[in-house]
Symmetry: C2
Subunit: 372 residues, 2 copies
């Protein structure tokens, strides 16, 4: 078994939360690749989507493959021979950072639903403290994908001047109603599972059904119909692979969903999932419009962001974070004065393309980083 490369950074205590309340003795988990140079100006910070931990790729301590293995490492698109790369597990997650599944040091019990309301800005602030704690005044690049891209926009707005270049991947400046509807239904599936029990489950009474439905719905919306036509078509399972129950799985695509759900259900804490999912719905940079007339405007908020260069990548088959939202970010950052590369991709894999279409995404990222 590989050694654990996770490091931990203690956040300020109390750590004030955006929507009220504060955490005592909280921490974030992170991993690093490469070496911080003497000028401390070669740091790249990665903020992740909802489910990954900090182990984005193999490193010296933990050579097991990470969730972005082909993207990050020596000679790879995010080249750790040049960059000092940090990947942080989001505050509120269960992969080492403090979240609803952690012990509340003030009570000695697991937070569960006593964890304060979580906003992605809290995750951004925690990541910012880590970066400062590592002695880095200004990131060479802040990269965020999916939920992490939202956190990254929060980071940029809350900490102006702290980032030189930005890479925004398949994310949103605000949650749109379709994405809210999907996430709301995922949360509902968990909440309605009697084993969720208002957050008071344990390993023996675990909301497995709710988590499974939530994950399957996630996988459906993370990929694309087009990809699946080519991949699964109408292939049926062999009879001995089928579930021996009424209306059980019969098609290969159903079995694929079952496989994904099984991997996820016990590896991600349900309460953490609920907190992070809701935080994504709440996210809306229009709140940072300096002159909100009634409702704020996304464009006005984006116009406040101070980065020299940006790379904005989106995928035409992404139904959860549509290309129109990536265009919106690119346009806004241009108005803000950044030199922006907007790269709309035709990857067939939908929202998840950044995880699997490494040829397209890697090329765009390598090209951008080479210019810095």
């Amino acid at each position: 078994m590989a050694a654990d490369a996770t490091q931990y950074f203690a956040l300020s205590s109390p750590f004030a939360m955006k929507r009220g309340g504060a955490l005592t003795g909280a921490r974030v988990a992170y991993e690093t690749w490469g070496t911080l140079n003497a000028a401390r100006d070669n740091a790249v910070l990665i903020l992740t989507g909802l489910s990954p931990g900090a182990h984005a790729a193999a490193n010296a301590v933990d050579p097991s493959p990470g969730w972005w293995e082909e993207m990050l490492g020596p000679g790879k698109p995010i080249d750790s021979n040049r960059w000092f790369v940090i990947c942080v597990n989001s505050l509120g997650s269960c992969k080492g950072s403090t979240g609803p599944a952690s012990i509340d040091p003030t009570t000695g019990k697991v937070y569960k639903l006593t964890f304060p309301e979580l906003a992605l800005e809290d995750a951004a602030n925690a990541a910012f403290e880590l970066v400062r704690g590592l002695g880095i005044e200004r990131l060479a690049c802040l990269l965020g994908n999916s939920m992490g891209g939202m956190s990254a926009l929060g980071y940029l707005l809350l900490h102006p001047g702290s980032v030189r270049a930005h890479i925004s991947i398949s994310t949103a400046p605000q949650a749109q109603p379709f994405a809210i509807a999907i996430r709301s239904l995922q949360r509902e599936a968990i909440r309605l599972d009697p084993n969720w029990n208002e957050g008071n489950y344990d390993a023996a009474h675990y909301p497995e059904t709710g988590m499974s439905i939530a994950r399957k719905l996630g996988v459906i919306t993370y990929r694309s119909a087009m990809e699946w036509v080519g991949r699964f078509a109408r292939i049926r399972l062999d009879h001995d692979q089928r579930e021996d129950e009424p209306f059980g799985a019969e098609f290969a695509v159903e079995s694929y969903l079952v496989g994904h759900a099984k991997k996820f259900v016990r590896s991600f804490d349900p309460n953490c999932y609920l907190y992070l999912s809701r935080a994504s719905d709440w996210f809306d940079i229009a709140e940072y419009d300096p002159q909100p007339h009634g409702h704020g405007h996304v464009a006005a908020a984006l116009a406040r962001i101070d980065v020299e260069r940006a790379l904005v990548i989106g995928v035409s088959t992404d139904i959860l974070f549509p290309l129109s939202q990536q265009q919106e970010i690119a346009d806004g950052l241009r108005v803000a004065g950044a030199n922006v590369d907007f790269v709309p991709l035709d990857s067939p894999q939908g929202h998840d393309a950044f995880l699997v279409d490494i040829p397209r995404f890697g090329a765009a990222i390598a090209r951008f980083l080479a210019k810095l």
Copy 2:
């Protein structure tokens, strides 16, 4: 309260089912508008989507509005002053036709899961018997939308020469994996509800949770992200409208889903839903390829269909029955020798557009029918 305009037609008994078994004393429910002319050549048959009943529009007996009220009636796009219009409730449904919620006359008990496996071809054959029973040798037009469009393709393949013109709306020549995945998850939500109890629920122990999740997922995939940006944006519920529970509904779009689910949950039988949903997954006209080399081909099956004219309508924002599948139907019917109008629409409402974008759909249908 309006009188019930539903009429019933007794199917042949036994009524043989495609996948085996037979129904005894089965019937289909239907309604009609207009008058069958002396030549019996002005009949239009409508095959519906999964959930509607036969009451497509107000008529003399039942003036209450139907599910396609603006489309059908005197002077409307499907003009009952000219056409004798029949709308039939699908075999296997619970809106008057025989299905899993009906009494099995051979046992005196509700079928539940003893209902034989249902295919959409069974629904097509039942509709065909009704048409013949009404003394109609050849339909002027067979119209099917969504699931009903699949049944209509089955009807055309199984009963060649029985239809002069065809209108195909937002449907599929075969279920694709994305649609299968969505429907599989809907079925799973019902099946995993302990109250489903392998089909043995009653009003007091009813799979309300599962049905609610299934319906919400349906509504999400029946509409489009684009429509919802304009309709709901990030509008929040007033505080007194919010659910007083952790992670309860907060956004208008969530409340919209709740409203749809509430209307549906008790008005559609869960077992019927499961049967019709699975029948949709099974549907694949490639089975009718006369020379199936390994797998049959959709195009080869479509090429066998014998109609003079066809109108094929699809919507670019439909994620469940994508425009590419409507194009496939149009192309195939052209190869078959039909004079085909293919009308791709930019309606923002997604799959449900045919129910709500009456200006666009009505114009296309009226134009087509005027040519017959």
